[in-house]
Amino acid sequence: MKNIKISFVINGKKEEREIPPNISLLKLLRDHLGLTGTKNGCEAGECGACTVLLDGRPVYACLVLAPKVDGKEIITIEGIGEEGKLHAVQKAFLAHGAVQCGFCTPGMILAAKALLDERPNPSRKEIEDAISGNLCRCTGYLQIVKAIEASGKGGKGEV
């Protein structure tokens, strides 16, 4: 199988890679770029753990064929917040106990960020819809919803 060359912007940085055309964006992120913050849960588009932002929209990295990101922009959990300074949504997740085992967290936070970028003060229904594609088996969702609500309201993720 012949490799193909793609270039894309990942977390604000331009990258170029030669890849086999049959891999997923998830594999590109984890195995080729070393960005293991994006989790591999079901690899079948059913759990949401691999949610990343593609041109600002949440998608399942496991269901995106890697060549499709040529010329596009990707944001992963590593790309939000700064070194030593958490993003407002991340802070709110900590403050509200919205992280337990943590496996769904990166995907949840990116789904939440996509919502908040579009609607800074979402209703509870909008929050629930926005994370309806992300499964969490620990928290029961309430803390997550509250955290997203809080990061929306103050914009600072305060309790």
């Binding site: 199988m1 997923s24 059913e46 593609l54 399942y60 064929l65 060549p67 309806s132 594609g133």
Partner: protein, 287 residues
């Protein structure tokens, strides 16, 4: 073992049709990829050449042409659900698209993929059936258009040729004398495959239903209209009794088309109840 293939990403329709002409049966077309990625991961995709059509801008549009709405196959479920034109002129399709998978799936999955993949549980198909949508298939030598109900041969089987590409989906824009409803029953609200989905369109003339179109998905081998039930509703003033009768007939038609199976015992009353709910919603009575 993942499927292996060469990859082509044509940037124009002409280029895509050339590739399909030259490589025909050896190709597979990919749009959003939400269904195909599973097949690729499982090693089940047998194509030598994967043709990614997602960089063909003209296949990406929703537009109005006279009294028609014309949708490119690359329009995503998310775009359909948030389109003002669809909301106004074909809300049943917007609602169907909004019930697909999850936000992430709706951002990648396309209406063209939903049509071509031909899953009996596809959510947009019953909506397209009641809209009497036409699909246009194009190859290098020319194109053909046909009603969506003529497009399917069976579950996951369509009449599309190896050199053909679905290039547009068209239907007449509905005015506000048309009422509609779309109901989906699945194990959960999100991330679940439809067990049954129902699309209803009704053209009202004062109190009377002038024309009614009903299609149920996931329950018949190929997408179809529930014509006997439509006949009962046509010209009637919708009442609890008429709706009850039409729902019973739909359930009967479903069994007649799909045959009696172990699941029939619960599917029949479930279909009946859901059709009743869908009709009540469309006619705005008895809720």
């Amino acid at each position: 073992m993942r499927s292996e293939f060469a990859y082509a990403s044509p940037s124009s329709l002409g280029e895509a049709l050339e590739i399909l002409k030259d490589f025909g049966e050896r190709t597979c077309v990919i749009a959003g990829g939400t269904d195909l990625m599973i097949a690729i991961r499982e090693g089940e995709l047998r194509a030598e050449l994967l043709v990614d059509i997602s960089r063909i801008p003209e296949l990406r549009l929703i537009r109005e042409e006279g009294n028609q709405i014309c949708i490119g196959p690359l329009v995503t479920h998310g775009e359909l659900a948030s389109s003002g034109l669809i909301k106004k002129g074909a809300s049943v399709l917007g609602r169907a698209a909004n019930s697909v998978g999850s936000p992430q799936i709706r951002n990648m999955g396309t209406i063209g993929g939903n049509i071509i993949n031909a899953s009996p549980a596809a959510d947009t198909i019953p909506a397209l059936v009641v809209l009497e949508a036409q699909v246009t298939l194009k190859k290098r030598e020319g194109e053909r258009s046909l009603p969506i109900t003529d497009f399917y041969l069976g579950p996951y089987k369509t009449i599309i040729g190896a050199q053909e590409l679905l290039t547009k989906i068209t239907f007449a824009k509905l005015d506000d004398t048309w009422k509609s409803s779309f109901i989906k029953l699945a194990r959960r609200k999100a991330l679940a495959i439809s067990r049954i989905n129902i699309a209803v369109l009704a053209k009202m003339d004062e109190m009377r239903a002038k024309e009614v179109r009903v299609s149920i998905g996931s329950s018949t081998p190929t997408p179809c209209r529930m014509e006997k039930a439509e006949a009962v509703l046509r010209g009637a003033v919708p009442s609890a009794a008429v709706i009850e009768e039409a729902s019973r007939i739909v359930a009967e038609e479903m069994v007649a088309r799909s045959g009696v199976r172990p699941s029939t015992e619960y599917k029949r009353p479930a279909v009946q109840g859901l059709v009743k709910k869908a009709l009540q919603e469309a006619f705005n009575i008895g809720l």
